[in-house]
Amino acid sequence: MKTQSQIQFRKFDFSKKLDLGMDLLRNVESIVKGIVSKRDESIRWVFQPYVDLIDSMIEGAENPENLIFHNFTVSPELIHSMDLMSFSPEALSFFAPAEYVAAYRDCSLIEHVPEHMCSFLSTALGMAVSNVMPKPKGILYASHPCDNGVALGQALSEYYRVKAFIIDSPYDDNKKAHEYFAGQIKDLFRYLEEITGKRLNIDRLRESCKRSDKAHELLYQINELKKNKPCPLASSAILRAISIAMYMMVDTEDTIHWLERLLEDVKQRVDKGIGGKCEEKMRIAWIYTLPSFDPAIFEWMEEKFGATSVIFQGADSFYWPIYKPIRKHDYDYSFDELCLILANKSLNTPMARQSRGHLDRFVRDTIHWCKEWDIDAAIFSGHIQCKANWSAAQVAKEALMDELGVATLIHEIDCIDPRVVSAEQIVGKMEPFLEMVAENKGL
């Protein structure tokens, strides 16, 4: 009798000589659209944010005079409202095949990037020095979530000889802090006006914020429905799709339409009691990042343990109530008020919220998710470079056990470079942990 899982983890060949100067964007487009096209037609729409983002990046590359590089925690509303095109180098890192991630990372080491820098950032720099990204008109980076992000922004600025604006995020999370950040946003608009010669159009900013609000409201409803058992949205691919849509395209009509369709789909699944592919036996919260280089890790969790990934920080903390100075039905906010709204949004996106300031915010958010979504086990997986979060991990673990009796696994990963920690190593750590959770649940 054989009962072992037959799931095969991806094998990577890092010995191949790669053409790092190829048209990476087109190559990634071909890969992503190829993967999506192989899916059943009835569910292809679910992956639309992947396609939309690639399309927008290609469009941006074809219009470099309007192209603004930004890190993922700089809200795209700021760029789109100036009639400019957003392009996140880290997003291209995310899409690149693992073998290319490895090769571009190695390239970045030549540019004196420390090898412990996470691959989202170092790969982006490697792509820059390999000339596979277009030269941008401007560069916007933020001091959250990490110092290395700032370093990347500065490195890109030097490489492309383009003036960068590093938006400074406050440590605290109160009215004064938000006002400070709103001031930073005003400076950011001045920077964009200066480098592009364009003028900020308040009406356009208002529309952008309005669409973004709508997207947040839709995600709020979707996430509330995830409290149902089985979880109606039990797919790591969709969690990542949400993350892409909300980080990169939150203020677009396409994102709103996609979220509306997702909400309707989730409602129907709740009505019919449909969960994931496997029976839901335990509910998992990924309280920080998750491995993206091999979906088989999630298939293994589901198949072997019935472990459903319900919460993912990168997809679940976008919906915190949006601050509005005065509730206005006609959305007739002043420029100052819009900047405050944007400050609130920016500071409350995933990582921007939890990786900034006092670690209590990370801990309380984690407890909130695990309590409200009735989570059985939490997983903190993160890159060792993310020092702010690693300092919170053990505190969160103890708090989750003390307050909710929820066990936490803490382990190191790199989201997109399997050379750091392989799928087999990740599963090797998760297996005893999930065995323990299963036994505690009497499974």
Binding site: Q4, Q394, K429, P432, F433, E435, M436
Partner: protein, 262 residues
């Protein structure tokens, strides 16, 4: 009750325990071969031969250890953490904390207060050789002795020479330097064991120390490491009524027996 077995394929040794009901009727420990399946086959055959059994007479086999998925005759695989906890809990009802130091990793496991052998929490170090059997192997090679000789030699130490490097490679260089400085070899070896203890004690701190404390894995036989852990934790490690190295295989066999009893 049935005849069942547990097979633990580790990085350094392969172990098998055969249970007839709740009695251990045979066990085996062999050095690991390059192929986990070969290690599993050899250790299982050795254990079976000792009691004149054929593998077909085993009702159920649970595999564990890093090579568990490669054990061709395993009906089920379970992680070594669950198996070590099960084995130690079976032998020692009062165990509250289990330290498992294997060839390539080390773990601190908090055991449930109410249910014997149940894992409550654990932390592990599997990113580097520090605090593992491999670290001791490297150090033994520097002194041109067998790893099993390290423990007894440390009992002759007059003091502990501190090894500041955690990385095995750097520690090896540091030990070579300490030898060149004519430090006493017993004192250096005591420092080597203390270094291993330092790694594991930091893990214990993260799961929380609760007595009684037991140690399993091959390094559990090293008196130098055991004494160093006791000194650092300020507790006495309880002797297991069995070979600490076979706890994983024993736990796997107990799980096999539990499955057959359902």
């Amino acid at each position: 009750m049935s005849i069942v077995a547990g097979c633990d394929v580790g990085s350094v040794t392969g172990k098998t325990v055969i249970l007839d009901g709740d009695e251990i009727i045979s066990s085996s420990i062999i050095p690991s071969r390059p192929l986990p399946a070969k290690t599993a086959g050899e250790t299982m055959n050795q254990a079976l031969e000792k009691v004149g059994l054929d593998i077909k007479e085993l009702k159920y086999v649970v595999g564990t250890g890093y090579g568990r998925v490669k054990i061709p005759f395993a009906n089920k695989t379970v992680s070594e953490i669950a198996c070590h906890a099960k084995g130690v809990g079976w032998l020692m009802e009062t165990a509250g904390t289990l330290i498992d130091i294997g060839g390539q990793d080390c773990k601190a496991i908090a055991l449930d207060e109410k249910i014997r052998g149940k894992v409550k929490s654990f932390v592990m170090n599997d990113k580097c050789a520090a605090g593992t059997g491999r670290f001791l192997e490297v150090m033994a090679a520097v002194f041109e002795i067998e790893p099993k000789e390290i423990g007894p030699l440390t009992l002759k130490a007059k003091k502990i020479v501190s090894i500041s490097s955690q990385c095995s490679v750097f520690a090896e260089s540091e030990v070579v330097s300490l030898i060149a400085e004519e430090n006493d070899r017993f004192d250096i070896l005591a420092g080597v064991c203390d270094s291993v203890a330092g790694r594991i004690v930091s893990l214990v701190g993260r799961v929380g120390l609760r007595e009684d404390v037991a140690i399993s894995g091959g390094v559990g036989k090293n008196i130098g490491v055991v004494k160093a852990i006791e000194r650092r934790l300020n507790v006495e490690l309880k002797d297991l009524p069995g070979d600490p190295q076979i706890m994983g295989a024993l736990g796997a066999a107990i799980i096999a027996q539990e499955i057959c009893s359902k």
